[in-house]
């Protein structure tokens, strides 16, 4: 059951990654990256439960904190510079 869930999450990550590469504009790619990081968080927690070791949950915790910092930096960049990426 947990194995099937992991495969499902990886398949969803592949779909979000298609949006990250072929999306239109930086904001859409940012949303795709956000979805990707949420999927990675779920994957890490499920894998940690599967293996039964508590240190695996620390990876999910640290990634959640620092990934949010990166998303915040890109969002502030999009606020400071007006959107000029739609007209390529």
């Amino acid at each position: 059951m947990l194995d099937a869930t992991q495969w499902f999450i990886v398949a969803c990550a592949a779909l979000a990654l298609v949006k990250l590469v072929f999306g239109s504009g930086a904001a859409e790619r940012l949303i795709a990256l956000n979805v990707l990081s949420a999927l990675a968080l779920a994957f890490l927690v499920i894998k940690g439960v599967d293996e039964g070791r508590a240190i695996y949950l620390d990876v999910a915790l640290v990634y959640d904190i620092f990934g949010f910092l990166g998303l915040l930096a890109v969002a502030r960049f999009l606020r400071d510079k007006p959107m000029d990426d739609d007209k390529e």
């Binding site: 990654l17 990707l36 990081s37 890490l44 930096a73």
Partner: protein, 78 residues
Amino acid sequence: MVEFILGLVVALAVYSLRSGDLLHGVLALSGLSLLCAMLFFLFEAPDVAITEAAVGAGVSTVVYVWAIKATERKDKAQ
């Protein structure tokens, strides 16, 4: 599963090299380091995965976006 994630890493690396918009390349690099952290995790190295998640996904994205903000966003070579 490892081969599948490695294929995704290669696709993201090629895109971040070829993209003309540097911000899109930085977003792809952030996703790449996320997938690399998942790979380290699958290879049972959680401490390396913690470091990769902190440095690759967080700090390097902030530094790259800061540098793009101070300079140009478009790649002039393309």
